[in-house]
């Protein structure tokens, strides 16, 4: 139903995961897994909704691939339940689950042609030859593999292999598709294009995707929501912009992008904002969206580098600014990164778009500058 709709029309519609109390399509309930006494996953619960592209984001060894393998049925959880579309599949063996997986290595069968690779799963279901051919024709068109049917896997490029792997895992129309680092083997320029293609295919086919990645940009580009994992635990779940703008911990704030941390103490708590005194940077700063932090609490104020502005003039208001000297400038083409040394000895990272050519820009090395930011851009973190 979702797939047949024009994606442009559905932009403003509220999706399932934005509605409070909606019925989840995939429920991961209190899953724990340990191997030889070492806990890999600790009490993880996630709800994934229909038609969602959900990402599990984390560095290597955080348990995200283990969780994916538990979902696919390769590994059994030590405790907990997995419910897909209302059916408890925790004890359903891998070959009977309505779940397919796309492997990081693609795992194409080297002795079969592209066509036979895609047909492999369908031949299992005792379908007639014509209906198999129909299904394959459809998926080959969708994944843009026309003309490659008779090739062997070793005659394909990396991007083509990836699409064959995708076609093979989609052709059985699983209720849930798992993707293990789908872009890891592609080079950077191809990756970006493929990310959009994958999202496109997902929207058209209307299958719920769960994707594992260590690349935060990839997760943010593609997913409707994402879960950040660390040491087998979920740190935060939310839409990419929510996680980026409102991280709940220093770990998440740092994991999804660059950030400056200032330690401080809460001085005042007003209705809509709090006042923090930070000796680390030597200024008072206001922050909105603080939540419940009583006066006197030690907190960390986090500000993203692109949200800090630079000026040679002293800002007119008394708070949310500091003075420093530019020590380093890294020119990245589209943006430049400035390392500003404050009087307190702290180095603050600021990024600015390169609106002007290199020679024309306003700030150079050893310039004395003022850094300032809006109070709604200071994120207050307690952990």
């Amino acid at each position: 139903m979702y797939g047949s709709e024009d994606p442009l029309l559905s932009v403003n519609r509220r999706e399932d995961w934005q509605i409070l109390g909606a019925e989840p399509f995939v429920s991961i309930k209190n899953i724990s897994k340990s191997f030889n006494g070492v806990p890999l996953i600790r009490d993880v619960s996630i709800s994934v909704f229909k038609n969602e592209l959900f990402s599990l984001l984390g560095c290597s060894g955080c348990g995200k691939t283990t969780l994916l393998r538990i979902l696919a049925g390769f590994d059994k959880p030590s405790s907990g339940k997995i419910i897909i579309d209302g059916i408890d599949v925790t004890d359903v063996p891998v070959f009977k689950r309505p779940v397919n997986m796309m492997f990081q290595s693609y795992a194409l069968f080297p002795h079969l042609t592209v066509y036979d690779n895609i047909a492999f799963g369908l031949k299992q279901d005792k379908l007639s030859k014509t209906s198999i051919a129909d299904k394959i024709g459809e998926i080959i068109k969708l994944t843009n593999l026309t003309g490659l049917e008779k090739r062997m896997p070793d005659q394909l490029s990396g991007g083509q292999k990836q699409r064959v792997a995708l076609a093979r895992s989609l052709v059985k129309r699983p209720k849930l598709l798992l993707l293990d680092e789908p872009m890891a083997a592609l080079d950077k320029s191809l990756r970006e294009q493929t990310q959009f293609e994958l999202v496109n295919i997902q929207e058209r086919i209307g299958i719920t995707f769960i994707l594992v990645t260590h690349d935060q940009e990839e997760a943010m580009t593609m997913s409707s929501r994402m879960a950040i994992m660390e040491e087998g635990k979920i740190k935060q779940i939310g839409a990419p912009h929510d996680v980026y703008e409102f991280p709940n911990s220093k770990f998440v704030a740092e994991f999804v992008g660059r950030v400056n941390f200032f330690d401080g103490i809460v001085l005042e708590h007003q209705l809509d904002q709090i006042l923090i005194e930070s000796n680390e940077i030597g200024c008072f700063c206001n922050a909105t969206h603080a939540g419940a932090v009583p006066v006197g609490t030690r907190v960390t104020c986090a500000v993203r580098p692109e949200k800090i502005m630079i000026s040679t003039l002293r800002p007119a208001y008394p708070r949310n600014w500091v003075k420093g000297v530019i020590k380093e400038i890294a020119y990245l083409g589209h943006i430049s990164t400035y390392h500003v040394l404050l009087n307190s000895g702290k180095v603050v990272v600021v990024t600015l778009p390169n609106l002007l050519r290199l020679d024309d820009r306003n700030f150079q090395w050893e310039d004395e500058v003022y850094l300032f930011w809006r109070s709604e851009n200071s994120m207050v973190l307690t952990v």
Binding site: A72, G73, F74, V94, F95, K96, V99, N100, M101, F103, Q104, S105, A107, L108, F109, P110, H111, F120, G121, Q124, D125, R168, S169, K172
Partner: protein
Amino acid sequence: MNAKQISYGILLIWKAVKRTSLFKSLKDPQFFFGLLPLLWLIVFFLAPILVIIVISFASTSFSIPPFSEVFKWSIDNILEITLNTQNYISVVKDSYYIHAFFNSIVLSIITTAVCSVLGFAMAYGIFCARKERRANLLVLVTLSFWTSFLIRVYAWINMLSAHGMINRFLMKIGLTSEPIQFTGNYYAVCLGLIFCYLPFMILPIYAVLEKIDRSCVESSWDLGCKVTRTFWRLTVPLSKDGLKNGCILVSTASLAEFVVPELVGGASTITFGRVLWTEFFNNLDWPMTCAISIVMMSMVMFPSFLFGMIRKRI
């Protein structure tokens, strides 16, 4: 012709040689070193075979060496070539030889078939074992190579003989009152061949199995193939190359085998290798021996060609 003309002629020939592509590519080190194995084959394989072919067309005589000359220069500079085709005609016509050929081929086919099933099972068993155990299991497979081939065969004789371990065991538990004759027949030869050549099947199959991507197998399960179907649809086709190589090794080796039929088979089992031995050492019929070897070699090469053709087809 004077000396000047001769030297001019040599110069012309040298220039012509220099212009040939073979000479030019000799300067390429890759080509040059590629030539070395070819040279090896020519000296140690092709030349002896040519000698054997020549001798196979001679006839026996009481001389040293014990065969007549095939190429002979007569006094008036005439090259006489005497080809004696009787050897080949005997090989093809004499039922004794045909019997020997047939036996060897059947033995070889049975050995290869049993070895491929057993070998695959054992290779797969090793492959399924835990990683740290695999190396030990492979050592166990190759362990038999550490003893002499002859001793291994003698061990079987000891096992199978009238007062051997098996007979004694059978008599002790009362299954038989008199020793059963195990040796001296084709079953014993077959058993010996299978035992001796099984490692040659296990090792190539294991080498291929080990290279199979684990995620391919998991992917097959994921696509709905149960374990046994995955085995037949994925593992077996992917280990086809190892199976083929193992079959070539076992079939060619067992076809030409002499020691096992001689020691285990007794007087009644006639095979290629034994016929060859008799002709050469007992009858001193070198030309006949050579003719048999040539026929045998063509037949040994036949399965390799057959497998080569199948491989091209697939």
